[in-house]
Symmetry: C2
Subunit: 212 residues, 2 copies
């Protein structure tokens, strides 16, 4: 069997064990057994538990970013783009619960370098979402109604909401990917649409959120 | 000086050092020096670096939850409640950047028991927000238009968005607490209001997010 195929089998097993047991409790014995190889072969190919974990983070990050980017179809109206992007994200996290647990729970709770590695992926997604919101806002409104900094803030809010919902959906029996996507679509779209069209929320009372 | 006062001074110093240096790099020498006490006294009062860190998580969690709960004024319209709650949250995280870094960055990136301790606080805030959204939805709409599970999902989305924005605001020069609160208000209110009134987003195309 070619080395590349063997390595993918080892990483499939590692993502499963890391995602379900956690980084510390995961044992290289169990990973080797699940992959159907000897433990020395795992060390030969992937060096150490730390490097294996980093390799899992890299592979799962790349797969998640690719899934979201493939889901968003340029040329669709902004609300459809958001809807398709959210569906792609929640479908991916639902179909890869162990990979998502590695990224969202495990990588962030075991210090460096892992927290930094997953943060690079997060920044990539925030930058992608920032680009989409900015483009939609420019299309809706000839003037750049939304300053760049506001667009980045909205992207941060959307990504943070998506992360929290994906964790909750995977841990709550019976919440489907489509349901999670619909929750976030309903939560976020009306506000984004209003902002893109220069219609911020106006309070009835004294202090306005748009006055700075 | 009474023990309770000394302990608070030690924890003030510890939150500063943990928040700025990170859990691993923080030294007990530096914490003792900043608190103006001897290192043996820190150990005598707070036992170990791990217990000191747990004590910091507990104190900062309690302060954050109290700040958010104090900000929300029952009896106001739902949008004003949300606005006041968001302002209280972002004001607290902006005024206590080291405490927020301990909760949001440090406690979650150093495994158990710390990640679990900060998660208890997070669940408390999600439960509080779930209660507020549920009450507002019942008030807007006699029928329970929003099933309980949907309300919990919305609370998860709002809390996730708030966490991400607070981290971003504290790390981005010149983003004020009011600005962060306004970004999230504009992002979330229109969608929440629509949902409370039974008006979900309807796509122009084929697949509807409200059909399950």
């Amino acid at each position: 069997m070619p080395r590349a195929v063997r390595e993918q089998q080892m990483m499939d097993a590692a993502v499963r064990i890391f995602g379900q047991r956690g980084f510390r409790a995961a044992s290289m014995d169990e990973i080797a057994e699940l992959a159907g190889v000897s433990k020395p072969l795992v060390y030969l190919y992937l060096n150490s538990k730390d490097e294996l974990f980093s390799a899992c983070i890299a592979r799962e990050s790349k797969a998640l970013v690719a899934a979201v980017q493939a889901g968003v179809q340029p040329g669709l109206p902004a609300d459809r783009q958001l809807w398709e992007g959210l569906r792609a994200f929640f479908t991916h996290t639902a179909e890869n619960p162990d990979g998502w647990a590695v990224l969202y729970r495990q990588a962030r709770t075991h210090g460096e370098p892992f927290a930094g590695e997953v943060n690079v992926m997060r920044e990539e997604i925030v930058a992608f979402v920032t680009g989409l919101i900015g483009a939609a806002a420019r299309e809706a409104h000839h003037d750049p109604a939304l300053p760049d900094r506001d667009v980045t803030g909205l992207a941060q809010a959307l990504v943070g909401a998506a992360e929290a919902l994906a964790g909750w959906a995977n841990e709550t029996p019976g919440v489907s990917a489509k349901e999670a996507a619909a929750t976030l679509m309903n939560f976020s779209w009306a506000g984004l649409e209003n902002l893109m069209n220069g219609r911020p929320w106006q309070p009835q009372g004294q202090s306005s959120p748009s006055s700075r």
